[in-house]
Symmetry: none
Subunit: 214 residues, 4 copies
Amino acid sequence: MIVNIVVLQNHLTLIERSFNIWHMRHKDENKNESIFNATIELINEQGLAEVSMSKIAKKAKVSASTIYVYFENKEDLLNKLFLNVKKKMSLEIFNNFDDSTPLQIAFETSLRKFIHFILTNKDYFLFIEQFQNSPLLHKISLEESIELFEPLYNSLFEKGKQQHVFKQVDTNLLVIFTFRPVIEFAKEHFNGNSELNQEKMNEIIRMSWDAIKA
Amino acid sequence: MIVNIVVLQNHLTLIERSFNIWHMRHKDENKNESIFNATIELINEQGLAEVSMSKIAKKAKVSASTIYVYFENKEDLLNKLFLNVKKKMSLEIFNNFDDSTPLQIAFETSLRKFIHFILTNKDYFLFIEQFQNSPLLHKISLEESIELFEPLYNSLFEKGKQQHVFKQVDTNLLVIFTFRPVIEFAKEHFNGNSELNQEKMNEIIRMSWDAIKA
Amino acid sequence: MIVNIVVLQNHLTLIERSFNIWHMRHKDENKNESIFNATIELINEQGLAEVSMSKIAKKAKVSASTIYVYFENKEDLLNKLFLNVKKKMSLEIFNNFDDSTPLQIAFETSLRKFIHFILTNKDYFLFIEQFQNSPLLHKISLEESIELFEPLYNSLFEKGKQQHVFKQVDTNLLVIFTFRPVIEFAKEHFNGNSELNQEKMNEIIRMSWDAIKA
Amino acid sequence: MIVNIVVLQNHLTLIERSFNIWHMRHKDENKNESIFNATIELINEQGLAEVSMSKIAKKAKVSASTIYVYFENKEDLLNKLFLNVKKKMSLEIFNNFDDSTPLQIAFETSLRKFIHFILTNKDYFLFIEQFQNSPLLHKISLEESIELFEPLYNSLFEKGKQQHVFKQVDTNLLVIFTFRPVIEFAKEHFNGNSELNQEKMNEIIRMSWDAIKA
DNA sequence: AATGAATGAGGGTTCATTCAT
DNA sequence: TATGAATGAACCCTCATTCAT
């Protein structure tokens, strides 16, 4: 059910976008978006710690004070960006998510979609990784972002435990062993230390599966 | 063999210390330590991003300019602190490391020692975690820190692959599946979201083992 | 005579209002008022120095740019507000002012009405006090505001000097000794340091009278 | 007694100054003083509300950040300046203050010295007047500044009430009627509206005396 | 070795005001 | 009339670092 809601939101967003293109292009696109994009690019180039409002402004080609028309402050900007990106990610991962799929298939599909998102959205991925551990991340934003991934908890891991397909351990551990290793390897991939190719992907999925399966 | 080198380094450090005592160098080793300690405490209290030279100076009860007697700049201070802490960690983990121990025992012992270090050195652990992803970490320091853990690569994982005890995959993957999950869970433990108790420890070790074993 | 002029001004204002109602001018007198009220409240809560156009706008529930429909700029807004408040004060003090009243009675009546105004219009009083010393107060507004109190100069103090009831000193001194002490004490009253009760009121009136009487 | 303490502090200050001249002129006078002076000048030229740290810095010919070497923040700077100026004032007023002087003489002497201070220290006077009503004035500073004037309360007004030379009213009222009128007239003097000459001075002293005397 | 003093550069944020709609 | 959007200028303050002593 939650999945459907997410998909609906996606539709609405698409409709909104069309609306914008037809009726609102008179101004200059959505300035909101250009601030988001500038921020993401900047974080990717220089790291979260080096991001400043004036740098964002320069990159987005607006005055620094203009940012404060759209966001309360730096924290607010980053939190809203975080939720925005997380939503994009959850939409892509849970697109066509089917509750009746066999568990191992569902597990593998989700993980592959997750990896696909990472590899095709380097900027988003690295931003999330940097921001998730930052003190700038508001608790509320974190909770809201976790909610986006509830299908995973309920329709995958909890269900898997009930069916004794997965080990009877803290669900957090199942999540961690499913997603953390690949995240870590993706970082090494983007650092140029290793290559996350098709073969590695299969290995990782196999290893995560071995870790969590009963 | 590498293990012995590490131990030797430790000896050298002790010799250095004696040297200091005998020759009464003015540059005070205590001051160096107190700057390190102040930095660690500060990072633990406020986060890496909030650390400034003047805050460190205040906490270490020295003048900010005094720090520049001991370190080239902020980056140098943090890198040296990082290596210092990493060395402490490797010393504790590889203490009594025996090359002839059966692999599964060696695996479990190392992981338990690692977890023990984390739980009894919260400050060091969180500092490493924060700094390892920071752009302030120099490549040289990173490489040097990796060298400290070579026994793991050679005497544990490579060996295990040769003996077909572990999966025939990129050694990095073995390392990641061995250490990353517990690191991630320890973070949740320190955040107060979960509790890393004896039972959880056993579960994690079991899961990591399942992930990497052939 | 001057008194009558003041009353006439009042009438004019009423006529203006009727005019508005009949002809339904778009420029809404209510909005003007709500901007005034918001400003007064804000100054009372946070002090004159903390007042900004955007804060006024938020409190008055209008857009900041709307303020510029009614006032030239911030200075103009504050000056007009100042005159508005001063007028309210003079109207209350000179209400029923009678030229033929014996001087000591007129003196005491005026002073009591003044104190009554202060105590029942804390916001107005504190605004006047803050603004009167501010560099934002235009000279023209100041002169205009002084004119409102001419009955005091002519029908009270000058007359009293002529009749040798008051000391033969600079009229400004008579005004100062009449009004400044009570103003200062009222401030302490509102600060919570003293209480301006009936007894204190009598004492102050007595002291002011002793100061100025011949 | 309190008076003596104040005088002693004065001596110490003088000694310190000599010391500075002989041994410390190597730098550039007391930078602290130059920041104070710049602030006072600025407030006198543009008003308290217009004072900014950067303007002070420019006028004092230092970098804005240098001010933060000497003061915690803007509030701290202004509060310390306030106490500094108030101390100078109390030193001048209570210089040679003699407890055994007849009350009316003591009253008149104090008031004349006060007026003299105002007229010869326009900058200090106007700063005090502006700052005393500012929300930037810390309660602690206010209390500390009031303590400097305790001789007035104890050796003049309270004593005068005991001897039934003054009216049996709130001591604050005696203080207000003694000092407020002349302060107000001095403001008009500096504004160019009136002239506070010898004759006016005598009139004011007479009027204040009439107000408070039993 | 140790430090107080000094600073330019930059941080985040608010300001009064303008302009197109 | 009313306003959302936009901005340059200014705000206070902290930063890492240097230098004279």
